[in-house]
């Protein structure tokens, strides 16, 4: 079995952001393992997603519901439609010590979400946990730490 290169890991992180920005959500969901977790903590340095509040703490089922809703013409908040843009720094490879994983990457990014005439900027650090499943590199966990997770935001509708 091939040991994934640092470039392989970084490429998946970039591809993930690209699929979100291009709103190719089915392909995006397919990057995640069936037991994947998508997490945006509410607190700086948070370790407990269960008994502490999180902005998002979702499995693939809930992510599917989000995608389905966003694609539904009845989604009132999607008139006009939201769009987003990821500007990412080079991913640091924090862990790559086996052929199967888990591998972890850390990627500082600026995430912009727009709707109508409004444009909002969020500064984030993204930690991906990747693993090899059926000889394919997939995302097992994505954690997004906002620089200001407790701020009073307006709606954040797409995926950071």
């Amino acid at each position: 079995m091939k040991f994934p290169s640092e470039q392989d890991l970084a490429r998946l992180v970039t591809l993930e952001a690209r699929l979100i920005d291009e709103q190719r959500y089915e392909a995006w969901l397919d990057l995640f393992t069936d037991d994947a977790v998508y997490w945006i903590p509410l607190h700086v340095g948070q370790t407990d997603p269960r008994l502490e509040a999180s902005l998002i703490f979702e499995d693939k089922t809930l992510l599917r519901i989000r995608v389905k809703r966003l694609m539904d013409r009845r989604a009132i908040s999607q008139h006009p439609q939201s769009r987003c843009h990821h500007l990412m720094q080079t991913s640091h490879i924090d862990r790559r010590d086996g052929a199967e994983g888990p591998f972890t990457t850390w990627t500082p990014a600026h995430y912009v979400e727009t709707r109508g005439d409004s444009q909002r900027l969020y500064a984030i650090w993204v930690t991906h946990t990747l693993a090899r499943v059926d000889d394919r590199l997939k995302i097992r966990a994505k954690r997004i730490d906002l620089v200001n997770p407790g701020a009073a935001f307006e709606s954040i509708e797409l995926f950071m």
């Binding site: 008994l51 509040a53 999180s54 499995d59 519901i65 389905k68 989604a75 009132i76 935001f153 709606s155």
Partner: protein, 425 residues
């Protein structure tokens, strides 16, 4: 002012006019008992929680003798805000960061550096010597602390009356009869008037429309999963309930603008039971009383003017007015002390999926409020209609229970709005 509120409609200026907003802060939010915080936020002497009543910055603080005080967050010297953090511990004294004046946790002035500079200046009869201004009218009802800025109008008990039974029910759901604020608070900024948000809490004709996309998506995905119910799906799916469900769920109103939806049942009624919880409740209260407590529905209870609690899922939402067209919504979660962690986990999941700025359900509400706020500026009609199931004698009895899709609670709120706005004009 009173002419802005009619039996079945209100003038749009109550939502859009900045001058009316200012008058609300001076009168409505000063003449009513407004929720400040929960005693579990300040367990030890010196603990404080910094918040606002209308546009007034206040501190709820645990005094040395364990009593709770609510103080204006303002130094009597030059006006500096004493505390900038949302919560913390002051020790025995608040210290103003500007000139190091010290205040006891009941607001009394303790010391001033170089105090001889005030000798023979008449300082002892100044405003400043009285220290941080304390709000005299405060009431701690089973952990919920309310304050009234101006000493006028009905007493705490007369103002809330029977509506306190909803707080009772939420607290009684703890086997030891105690709640704790837990997990962290969601903060969500809305581009609309605060009253629009409060009204929507008892609006039973919007979920099947506004939340159609979210509940349909949940139903579709649940279908693919062969109707397997994950805990989160259990929270999302009831939003698709039809009109008939909400009509029969019922609504109850009380005097002074309070009321609640979900009298017979609600979207929370069908949640699965949590292992061990019922046993704990039966052990604490006996079977009959435990079943009565958990059988109460009380979907959303409004404590006029700007608090809503959800007893069956142990959360509260505070609608903090920022400007005529800006409202900060805080969604709080509570732990039922002594109950299994799984209950808090469900409360947090509900808040996250429905009330967070990153939720699945709440984005459509946010957008509707924003459009309503914008739409109200349209010329041609200056009135908002609240006539659904209006009955001229509906509020005469003080308390009434009726069809859940009635707009009676919104009319009830506006009746009280007019009363408490004009009480001191």
């Amino acid at each position: 002012m009173a002419a802005l509120v009619r039996e079945g409609e209100v003038h749009r200026d109550v939502y859009v006019d900045p001058e009316i907003f200012t008058l609300e802060m001076r009168h409505l939010f000063a003449n009513t008992w407004v929720f400040v915080g929960h005693e579990s936020q300040i367990p030890s002497p010196g603990d404080y929680y910094s918040t606002s009543i209308g546009d007034q910055p206040v501190l709820m603080v645990r005094h040395t003798d364990h009593s709770i005080n609510v103080l204006y967050n303002r130094c009597p010297h030059k006006g500096t805000r004493i505390v900038a953090d949302t919560c913390g511990n002051a020790g025995k004294f608040f210290r103003c960061p500007y000139h190091a004046w010290h205040f006891r946790t009941d607001g009394a002035l303790h010391s001033v550096p170089l105090s001889k500079g005030y000798r023979d200046t008449g300082f002892e009869s100044s405003h400043a010597v009285r220290g941080m201004t304390r709000i005299d009218d405060i009431h701690d009802y089973r952990g919920f602390v309310f304050a009234r800025l101006r000493a006028t109008g009905p007493s705490f008990e007369d103002f809330f009356g029977e509506s306190l039974s909803s707080i009772d029910n939420m607290v009684d759901r703890s086997p030891v009869g105690r709640l704790e604020v837990a997990g962290g608070t969601f903060r969500y900024m809305h581009r609309c008037n605060w009253k629009m948000l409060v009204e929507n809490q008892t609006d039973a004709c919007h979920p099947m429309v506004v939340h159609d996309s979210a509940s349909q998506a949940a139903a579709d995905v649940a279908g693919v999963l062969h109707n397997q119910r994950t805990p989160e799906l259990e929270l999302l799916l009831p939003f698709a309930s039809p009109y008939d469900f909400y009509e029969k769920a019922g609504i109850r109103v009380w005097a002074n603008g309070h009321g609640h939806t979900g009298v017979s049942f609600s979207v929370h009624s069908g949640y699965s039971s949590i292992p061990e919880y019922m046993e704990q409740m039966v052990a604490a209260y006996g079977r009959e009383r435990a079943e009565r407590i958990l059988g109460e529905n009380r979907h959303n209870t409004i404590y006029f003017p700007n608090l809503m609690i959800k007893g069956p899922i142990q959360l509260a939402r505070v609608f903090k007015p920022v400007a005529a067209d800006r409202t900060l919504v805080e969604s709080w979660s509570f732990r039922l002390v002594g109950a299994p962690d799984a209950l808090l986990e469900r409360t947090l999941a509900y808040n996250r999926l429905i009330n967070a700025p990153t939720s699945i359900v709440g984005h459509d509400d946010w957008e509707i409020y924003r459009r309503a706020q914008e739409g109200l500026h349209a010329a041609g009609n200056e009135w908002v209609n609240l006539q659904r199931l209006y009955d001229p004698v509906e509020l005469e009895a003080g308390s009434t229970t009726t069809n859940g899709t009635s707009e009676i609670q919104m009319r009830n709120q506006f009746r009280s709005w007019a009363r408490f706005m004009t009480m001191t004009m």
